[in-house]
């Protein structure tokens, strides 16, 4: 890194300092030297930061690796340890006399232990039953599908209202694991797939790429946990690339398990279909407000059962990489408000990561399809890095679903 930095600095001066002004050759060197010295401490601190993070990263990777190895080692040693304990216990000399008090206390302890065992057995059986009802690969239809945590109310809404399509499709065994897709849902903004992993925990988890009919790639799913035991995950895909007029999605989920030892990744694909819920509410707004010295355009708003998206256009915002504090943006309608529920992503000219950024999209994963009336979007000036206290307020209505 040090060498790289040095090279870059040299390159800068070779390119930027005009050598045709021969008279000022000493100026060039003096400026170069002074600038490098001036930033020397700061550059050194940055190198230290990069080194620290790299070390922490390596430590974290080692810990993950050691954790896996320790588990494997523990499994191989469990049996001898147990034998050792039993042997020791039998070798222990018997007590010849017990006091009355200790006998009484022992009786109470025994009663408590029996109670605890009975109670925990009941809990364990209940958990097992619940796990089974989720549906393992080799078990018959999934009767109960767990909904995710409240951090994704859009997903919760479609789950609790029975809008998801049960799937129960299991991959072949790859890398000692199987994956069961057990539910899916697709609307005009999000495609949600829930899946369960069976088999040993090998540290890494498979990734999922989705392709629809016509070879349209929907990308790699961003996944989050629904349950950790059993391991149930939710993969989340954008439906932006689904063509208008689509009624059903013919999907291929490509699963890929990378191995830490560098050997060839294990892969498998499954094919299935999902109904496509194309209905959405769209409001073309195109309102401009001057907020904290920046001119922001509320372009349009799109609502589907699992997500509401607010499109805001601003060149300066795009250049800076988004809002400074997205939490100081509030969307409200009726009694609902978006407090701390906004996710911000860059809005690009071609809706792909390769496009030019033209603004920001605010995603709110709340079910707002049934919300009607006056919508209010409030943006505080600090959000755009501006000064003053006067917030920008956009007011609009959203037509019913198309």
């Amino acid at each position: 890194m040090a060498e790289q930095g040095k090279d870059r600095s040299t390159e800068a001066f070779d390119e930027q300092l005009d050598s045709s002004t021969g008279f000022f050759e000493s100026t060039k060197h003096r400026l170069a030297e002074d600038l490098q010295r001036s930033y020397g401490t700061y550059a050194q601190a940055n190198k230290e930061s990069l080194r620290r993070v790299e070390q922490r990263l390596e430590t974290r990777l080692r810990q993950t690796q050691q954790g896996e190895e320790a588990k494997a080692l523990e499994n191989t040693q469990k049996r001898p340890q147990r034998i050792y304990k039993i042997e020791n216990r039998s070798a222990r000399p018997k007590k010849t006399r017990w006091s009355r008090l200790s006998r009484f206390l022992s009786t109470i302890a025994a009663v408590l232990v029996v109670g605890a065992i009975v109670g925990s057995t009941a809990i364990v059986f209940d958990i097992k039953n619940r796990s089974a009802s989720v549906g393992l690969a080799d078990q018959t239809p999934i009767s109960r599908v767990p909904c995710s945590d409240p951090s994704d109310p859009g997903e919760q809404y479609v789950c609790t209202n029975g809008l998801e399509t049960p799937l129960n499709i299991t991959t072949t065994t790859f890398d000692k694991r199987e994956v069961t897709l057990f539910a899916g849902y697709a609307d005009a903004q999000r495609i949600l797939l829930k899946y369960m992993l069976h088999g040993p925990n090998i540290g890494a988890e498979p990734t999922m790429d989705l392709t629809m009919q016509g070879g349209i790639e929907l990308g790699m799913g961003a996944s989050g946990y629904i349950l950790k035991k059993p391991l149930v995950k939710l993969a989340n895909f954008s439906a932006d690339k689904v063509p208008a007029g689509t009624k059903e999605l013919q999907l291929t989920a490509h699963l890929r398990q990378v191995r830490y030892d560098g050997s060839k990744p294990a892969e498998d694909s499954v094919h299935f279909s999902l109904p496509f819920h194309a209905e959405k509410r769209v409001a073309s707004i195109n309102q401009t407000r001057n907020i904290g010295g920046a001119s922001l355009i509320l372009d349009h708003v799109t609502i589907t059962p699992t997500q509401t998206s607010v499109y805001i256009k601003n060149d300066a915002l795009a250049r800076r990489g988004g809002f400074r504090q997205p939490d100081d943006i509030y969307l409200s309608v009726g009694n609902w408000n978006s407090h701390n529920k906004i996710d911000e992503v860059p809005w690009t000219s071609n809706n792909k990561t390769t496009g030019t950024t033209i603004g920001s999209i605010l995603h709110i994963n709340s079910p707002l399809m049934d919300q009607h009336g006056k919508w209010i979007l409030t943006i505080q000036p600090g959000v755009v890095g501006g000064t003053g206290t006067l917030a920008g307020v956009f007011t609009f209505t959203v037509p019913v679903a198309q």
């Binding site: 600095s9 000022f24 400026l31 993070v53 990263l57 974290r60 997205p326 390769t354």
Partner: protein
């Protein structure tokens, strides 16, 4: 039978390629070295989790890493809003950063830096920022363009203007001395 597996591999090339620019971006966004380091670690842990990403083409990697960085910054602000707190270490860090970023401490140590320091303070903010990214972070034009969300050509122009201004002032000083 238990068999130790190979040590996990850190994609060093990927880290060295992207980490300096991402760190510069994070420090520009969060203004605390401690937090920037934590976020940088989180970003690369996410990248490692998505190992198939490492096999994708460079353009995809580039977009993906920057998308993660932006999301992490958004999460950082969301978390900061929910749990506003500032540690003593952070306060110290901020003071340290401020001193370092505008290279006042270093500049004032010697008389010959004083002039440069004054000139740099007079430069427009964007020019100072580009100088800092170039010399303080050692970033290439392409990387600076990514951090500032500007075109590479614009970055070259900004740096050219900054250096021209500084050089002009140095020339004047030399001319005065030679009189």
């Amino acid at each position: 039978m238990y068999r130790p597996t190979q040590a996990p591999k850190l994609p060093n090339a990927l880290y060295q390629r992207y980490a300096p620019a991402v760190l510069a971006y994070l420090m520009r966004q969060v203004h605390s070295r401690e937090d920037a380091e934590d976020l940088l670690l989180e970003i690369f842990l996410v990248i490692l989790e998505k190992e198939p990403m490492l096999e994708r083409d460079e353009r995809f990697q580039h977009s993906y890493i920057w998308a993660i960085a932006r999301h992490k910054v958004a999460d950082y602000y969301r978390h900061s809003a929910k749990h506003p707190s500032i540690s003593l270490a952070t306060v110290e860090e901020m003071i340290y950063e401020r001193d370092d970023r505008e290279p006042e401490q270093v500049a004032l140590r010697r008389e010959e830096y004083a002039q440069l320091h004054r000139l740099m303070k007079e430069l427009p903010e964007m020019q100072r920022e580009v100088l800092q990214l170039r010399f303080g972070h050692g970033l290439s034009y392409e990387e600076i363009a990514q951090v500032l969300a500007k075109s590479e050509g614009a970055v070259r122009m900004i740096l050219h203007r900054a250096l021209k201004l500084l050089r002009g002032a140095y020339n004047r000083k030399l001319a005065e001395r030679s009189k």
